[in-house]
């Protein structure tokens, strides 16, 4: 017990080196073992995991005989397991901006792009330590009972001027970008963010804005008419809209965000994890996924496997992708903490 207590403190560097060597020895039997009988994959859970179960886990198990166990992707846990070298996950899917942050802290294993084919991937989605798996959109949505057809905001500038109440995420990521677009910054000139200008823009709507906390909440306030218009993610309003809920949305000036596959640094079943990611990133897997959940493929070859109706709902289909822009995960990895502090201060 004391041994572990010491490793994370005092003479960090020296002890860490020793610990790394020790763990390499400990991990040795794992290397000798032919293949693991099961792998633990951490994701956001719920419907996402159910879909992966159907379209990737099942084919993977059929192909390799390795069973997949799901786990929730509690982000702090990634840091705990890498620091303690006690791996619960063989690989994980996390928000891309979080993956960028984790990569910067050295918590992720470099990916082997010899095994994962990145030739067909959208530009900017293949990073050394993580690869973006799907494209979601943070976009304008409105309650169709309260906002008349044709009166819906076409841009963030109109969203800012919309009558009634509006909803935005209670976090700086994405909300800052949207505030800048509302103030007239072009979608391809967002970074580095002009933080001052974003806050001035947010000041204009502060009193009429409900800052929501979770994606589920954003959908709920829209559907219940608590707000007239709100920013939300397309996966949140797609199903309710189909089920007849009074909500609609479009992709104009949408901000594209991603989840990403990554492997915890030092995780034992690295080779199998890479193979899994290669399968998950294949055109077929990505297309199958997009049929169930409206998050678009990052593998452009997947689009040709999908019909027009499905593609219409996907942020990364040709028509929709041109309407918006990608979140810069590197900017947030470098500035997240600082901008987050300013954002918290602004909200108080």
């Amino acid at each position: 017990m004391r041994r572990h207590g010491m490793t994370t403190r005092t003479t960090r560097r020296g002890v860490l080196k020793g610990a790394a060597a020790a763990s390499a020895v400990l991990a040795f039997p794992a290397v000798l073992r032919a293949a693991p009988s099961q792998m633990v994959i951490a994701t956001g859970g719920g419907k996402l995991e159910e879909t992966y179960q159907k379209v990737i886990y099942a084919p993977w198990t059929a192909k390799t005989g390795i069973k997949i166990v799901g786990a929730p992707n509690t982000s702090a846990k990634l840091k705990a397991m890498v620091e303690q070298k006690a791996y619960e996950w063989d690989l994980c899917q996390v928000a891309a901006e979080f993956a960028a942050q984790a990569a910067q802290q050295g918590l992720l294993e470099p990916l082997d792009y010899g095994m994962i084919d990145k030739s067909k991937l959208l530009g900017g989605t293949a990073h050394p330590h993580f690869v973006m798996s799907d494209v979601a959109a943070y976009h304008i949505a409105w309650n169709t009972k309260n906002v008349k057809a044709g009166a819906e905001p076409k841009s963030w500038a109109e969203f800012w001027k919309a009558a009634g109440r509006r909803g935005l995420w209670k976090r700086p990521f994405q909300t800052m970008e949207v505030a800048l677009m509302a103030d007239g910054v072009a979608k391809d000139k967002l970074y580095p963010l002009d933080v001052e200008r974003a806050f001035k823009s947010l000041d204009k709507i502060k009193s009429s804005t409900l800052f929501w906390n979770t994606g589920a909440q954003s959908a709920q306030i829209l559907i219940d008419g608590e707000v007239e218009v709100s920013a939300t993610w397309n996966g949140r309003v797609h199903d309710p809209k189909r089920a007849g809920a009074p909500v609609d949305y479009h992709f104009n000036q949408a901000l594209f965000v991603s989840d990403a596959w990554a492997i915890p640094k030092g995780a034992p079943n690295k080779k199998e994890a890479m193979e899994f990611i290669a399968l998950a990133m294949s055109a077929q897997s990505q297309a199958d996924f997009a049929k169930h959940i409206p998050y678009g493929p990052t593998n452009t070859a997947a689009l040709s496997l999908l019909d027009a109706v499905t593609k219409e709902a996907l942020p990364s289909s040709e028509a929709n992708f041109a309407k918006g822009s990608f979140l810069d995960v590197t900017y947030w990895a470098d500035n997240g903490d600082r901008v987050g502090e300013l954002f918290n201060k602004w909200t108080l």
């Binding site: 702090a76 705990a80 589920a216 909440q217």
Partner: protein, 271 residues
């Protein structure tokens, strides 16, 4: 009934029960709303639901992870509550009766686990449980929940102990009763109500604890709040409300059974 009851007291005799009824309504209102929402025929939570159906109960029964998680919650909660009652009562006795010089500091330390955000406890406990080889076991969750629930028992039992003087205990000891006999025959009967209340609150704390469970349980040992959280991250469907309703019904049945047992015992013991 006192003939001397003044006007204020008379007014209170009417007002207080009315007020109590209102407060009890307030306490039950969210539960009623949740039951109604669980019967919705929509795929999202909304109130009042446009139509009624039992589809979410069907969805839930098709998924075996719910009963497993509910069972796990009891497997973790009951021992955690028992452990915190035993340790919390010991601490309360020591600090109220022990005349320790550092009692103020000690009681502050015992209460501290309740104050800290659980994420910090989780980050700290993760490596400790790892070192002990307990990670992802029921034991890890039981120990962790006992740490955060112990202060509840400590505070409630201490209050009760301070409410009684220690003269009765002293008298018993002077008469030659050993410490164990004194506790059994004198102290325990006085504080057992507080111990029961403390244990109940401790169980409720464990039953609704999320952050420690997230860090310390595994897929096989995950508790109900963790499963709810995992499900809610994806979609907020009425399944969650259906689960909450079932837990509610179950707890009402348990409370009812406890009440019946108690009454049976009292009637049975009557001459």
């Amino acid at each position: 009934m006192t003939p001397r009851g003044d006007a204020l007291a008379r007014a209170m005799r009417v007002l207080l029960p009315c007020f109590t009824v209102l407060v009890l309504l307030y306490l039950t209102l969210p539960s009623i709303l949740i039951v109604l929402m669980s019967l919705s025929d929509q795929t999202y939570l909304t109130f009042p639901p446009p139509g009624w159906s039992l589809r979410w109960y069907r969805t839930m029964t098709e998924d075996t992870s719910w009963p497993q998680a509910a069972l796990n919650s009891f497997v973790v909660g009951v021992p955690a509550a028992a452990l915190s009652v035993v340790l919390g009562t010991q601490a309360a006795l020591a600090l109220t009766r022990g005349r320790l010089r550092f009692a103020a500091i000690a009681s502050a330390c015992i209460v501290a686990p309740m104050l800290l955000p659980h994420v910090i406890m989780a980050i700290g406990l993760y490596p400790v449980m790892l070192d002990l080889g307990l990670l992802r076991s029921y034991t890890a969750a039981i120990l962790a929940h006992a740490v955060v629930a112990l202060p509840l028992v400590f505070i409630i039992v201490s209050a009760s102990l301070r409410g009684y003087g220690e003269s009765l205990e002293l008298a018993a000891m002077v008469c030659g009763a050993g410490p164990c006999a004194t506790f059994r025959h004198i102290t325990f009967p006085m504080i057992r109500m507080s111990m029961a209340v403390g244990g109940l609150l401790a169980f409720a704390t464990s039953f609704d604890e999320l952050m420690l469970s997230l860090f310390l349980t595994g897929p096989g040992t995950r508790t109900l709040p963790r499963l709810i959280w995992e499900q809610m991250n994806a979609y907020l469907t009425p399944t969650i409300a259906a689960v909450a309703t079932l837990v509610l019904v179950l707890s009402l049945v348990l409370l009812g059974a406890a009440a019946l047992l108690q009454r049976g015992r009292i009637e049975g013991s009557a001459p």
